[in-house]
Amino acid sequence: MVLKYLIRENAYYDSVTLMIITREVKKIEGVKEVIVGVGTELNKELAGNLNLLTPELQKITPNDFFISLDSVDNNIAKKAFAFVDELLSKKKAESEDYQPSTFESALKYMPDANLVLISLPGKYAAREVKKALLNDKHVMLFSDNVSLEEEMDLKNLAKQSGLLMMGPDCGTAIINHISLAFANVVRKGPIGIVGASGTGMQEVTVMIDKLGSGISQAIGTGGRDLKAEVGGIMMIESIKALQHDPLTEVMVLISKPPDKEVAKKVLSILKEGEKPSVVYFAGGDPGVIKEYGSVPGLSLEDTARKAVAITKGMPTEDFTGFTVTNIDKIIQEEAKKLKKDQRYIRGLYTGGTLCDEAMIILSALIGDIYSNVPLKPEGKLSNINRSYKHSFIDLGDDEFTRGKPHPMIDPYVRQERILSEVKDREVAIILMDFVLGFGSNSDPAGEMIPYIQKARKIAAKDGRHIYIISSVCGTEADPQSLIGQEKKLKEEGVIVMPSNAQAVRLAAAIVLSRRNSQ
């Protein structure tokens, strides 16, 4: 006689399954006795009465599931457990829905589709977009590597048909409160956004949510929409749509500095609509925005704050400070811990617009910044893999992502990069963004933490202390949960600021404070 058992901690099975198991196992020739159940005292006692109790089974709790059986030999027991395993792990085959092979065929399965989301390789994308537009479907084109000519053609076609054609290279949109591609779960509200940048829209929508307001729509246009060639076709069409949208009370535009003529055209259309608006042309001239009656946003956070202020009938004050208390004390104390050589900030960004914003804010505060995507050509790093002085790296730029997943999905590049940055004795602060929401990695903070620990060890060996300052672009309703992500980072001693702008300012303040004290 051989006594064998199996324990599964914290496992629950419905009684139908357990009934079947008991019945079927008993049927196996060579099985003398079997008991199946949860580890309650009485079940264990019963097992004891049946001579099916082992010391290990003694220890289990009502939260554990067990099977114990008495059989003629080891082989029978093995066979029985293999069978139990099969019964317990039997997954009802998830029958996969049929996936049609072409757009035309998909239309047959969903003739009333209203949006086509395309993320095919760029060289094939235009052809499919055209089909979608010709069939009267709105399009979000996530793909890049679509030529400017194709973009112009497609956008003109969309405009003629009255359709949305978001993209190419449109990473973020929230249409009818559905997050498309990379977007956060934010509240419904009165603010309508048109943006030519993905993470820029993510940061603004998230900040609006954090301020207790919400958005009506967030329409992406793709990064080139406001170039002279494209002429802002989609931004203009989107503005018009939001102007007619009764749920949109305040408008927000986000873009890199547009072509001058295009900017004027866009702003004048915005003015015609008579809805109040906040415009963020990253690093652009706020004068022209004011001229057309819009409120210029100074940072993504400032843009969100002003938009929310308008919805509440409050004055739109420039915000360039902190919402965190005791910040001066933090700055002074932190600055003290730096060694003499530690002078520089290194930004390791997954979000392109966040990286841009960081450089814009920082260059005004502390001077020249080097980057793979510099604000000015002279700031271009000669080797993108080696930082120099104050360096900000957009790890989502083409040079890093060719043939690899975007760092918002796969943090590998940043994991490696932080280890090499920290070896540089002149580095004082590492700045990082963590972008949550649909599309992003399911645990961006958790993925970085082991590398933050490693980085800290490398610095500590050298007797240095490294500051890691971050902001998490996300909401509590995001799949990753803002609070959980922030908590993980804080537990590792990472300074978590409420916005990218504040994170950048804090970094600058620490460096400046150290500079002044020397």
Partner: protein, 56 residues
């Protein structure tokens, strides 16, 4: 009312071509979707594509 404003009134129904994770995310948000099992036309064979184009 433009078609874009009409879209704002409708329930989103999406045909997704490309990354299946986008489709999964839409499903999580209870959006009706059709995922296209897309392959490059004519398996990327340029000669075949040009022949097909001739017949169009």
């Amino acid at each position: 009312m433009t078609k874009i404003n009409e879209l704002f009134q409708e329930k989103l129904k999406v045909i997704n071509m490309g990354l299946e994770s986008f489709n999964e995310n839409l499903k999580k948000q209870n959006v009706k979707t059709v995922q296209v099992d897309w392959k490059p036309p004519a398996r990327g064979n340029k000669k075949m594509l040009s022949l097909l184009d001739k017949l169009k």
